[in-house]
Symmetry: C2
Subunit: 246 residues, 2 copies
DNA sequence: ACGGGTTTGTGAAGCCGTGCACAAATCGCG
DNA sequence: CGCGATTTGTGCACGGCTTCACAAACCCGT
């Protein structure tokens, strides 16, 4: 909306202001969900979608969808809705998915193997560009069309494969050291599966995925709900069969 | 502490709610992080901890720690700090981790195998009580000391193993059906790894873990940061070597 | 062309969460 | 026994996010 006229004369100095003013973090975290829903809708043959329908598919309220989309200067048509194809392209543009991003998997253990074999990367804008491990016994192992390289070669690997994101799937004890080496190699985005807090310089982005934490949060609500059978009898506390939503 | 929660969305009355008035969701989601940090601290030999130290270990601000802990009627001692052992017990109590919770893994594919082999369950209050799949070829397979059972036996399995939480690691197409069957079997907490939105009845809690979404959020920040080298040269955009403070 | 029905975009209000700053409480030590 | 150092617990203000409600914009049939 407030499309910035690309300064033909150029900004005088230093300040490289991006196109979008500043996208709220909450919105950013929902854009991928919209994107997923939109692909689903597109595959179903719909070529336009209302905020109401999109909201239902993404599991949020319609007002939120509209405000989110308006943030990125959206092209919706009143009385009609949004063009699915246009919206997909818009969101992919904003998320930086127009160019495929290469990720490196550090730690080819149980979880690393599973992620390497997960097919969901390619269809969502990513590609596994490197498998890395510290264990010499694992180096050289082939998975698909990739060969596990040693972590000592990380800088070369990052440069050669243009790695944009590092995914840490090592044991906890190794995670911080791996993060340090990733940062030293120039990686500025890290997805951490190890259950620990990583220290990184300013300007490096870290997101954590901790299975146990998710389970514990679920446990809290379960516990809160389930007062009444102190000695865990298998009391079946059946929820009402009413189905939420669309 | 006598601060009363103004009933907003909650039921007007009737449910005799236990000790805790109403814990903010943001606090709940941080308690597991505190718990992890506390175990770490306890293992280091510390028997008391200040909010400042705990905040550093959990990666948050100290004021937030104090406010969070005060929410659950904490037993801190001014001028000293918190007793680590007491705090651990308090948090485990609130999270309902005093009794070990059994989880069922539905979908013994790549990811399912990885999670089944993940050792982090036992030490964090959970136990895999069942492995379930729909593929007859997989039923009967042994992993560790568990045997994969068929999903048609889900109700019996849930009852026999006192399953509290279902973890969905199936392909997307199967996820909703699995969720329905989990709910029908009496499970009221679901951790969903399939990239889709699940419809469940009121009273059932669902949490989603989507790898691609996390990557896309990282991609956004990477994209936003990385204006200036359009043809992705491996320009090392080194952040200041300053380490983010403890 | 025009009116009715539909849907977007957004101003405004309310809620939640965060962080500061400080009084109250506790310990250690002289 | 009292004083200073330390740390908790919390009132308060601020900012961000969510939701409602509604005017503006648009399509379509007549």
């Amino acid at each position: 909306m407030s499309q910035f006229p690309r300064g033909s004369t150029g900004p005088p100095d230093g300040v490289v202001v991006p196109d979008l003013p500043e996208l709220p973090e909450a919105t950013v975290s929902r854009l991928p969900e919209y994107l997923r829903a939109l692909h689903q809708i597109a595959q179903a043959g719909q070529d336009t979608v209302s905020s109401e329908a999109l909201a239902a598919a993404a599991g949020v309220k319609s007002a939120k969808v509209r405000k989110d989309l308006s943030q990125l200067g959206s092209y919706g048509t009143r009385g009609v809705g949004y063009e699915v194809a246009v919206l997909i392209e818009q969101i992919e543009q904003v998320l930086g998915l127009t160019q495929r991003r290469n990720v490196a998997l550090i730690g080819v253990g149980n979880l690393g193997h599973a992620l390497a074999g997960y097919g969901g990367f390619g269809s969502r804008g990513f590609r596994i560009g490197a498998l890395v491990d510290a264990d010499p016994a694992r180096v050289g192992e082939r998975l698909g069309d990739l060969v596990v390289t040693h972590i000592d070669e990380l800088p070369a690997t990052v440069a050669a494969e243009q790695i944009a994101i590092g995914v840490i799937t090592t044991p906890v004890v190794a995670a911080q050291a791996v993060a340090d080496r990733l940062v030293a190699a120039g990686v500025t985005s890290i997805l951490n599966f190890a259950p620990c807090v990583l220290s990184v310089p300013d300007g490096v982005d870290v997101r954590n995925v901790d299975l146990a934490i998710e389970l514990q949060i679920l446990s809290f609500h379960e516990h809160r709900r389930g007062r009444g059978d102190p000695d865990g009898a298998a009391a079946v506390r059946r929820a009402a069969p009413k189905v939420v939503g669309p």
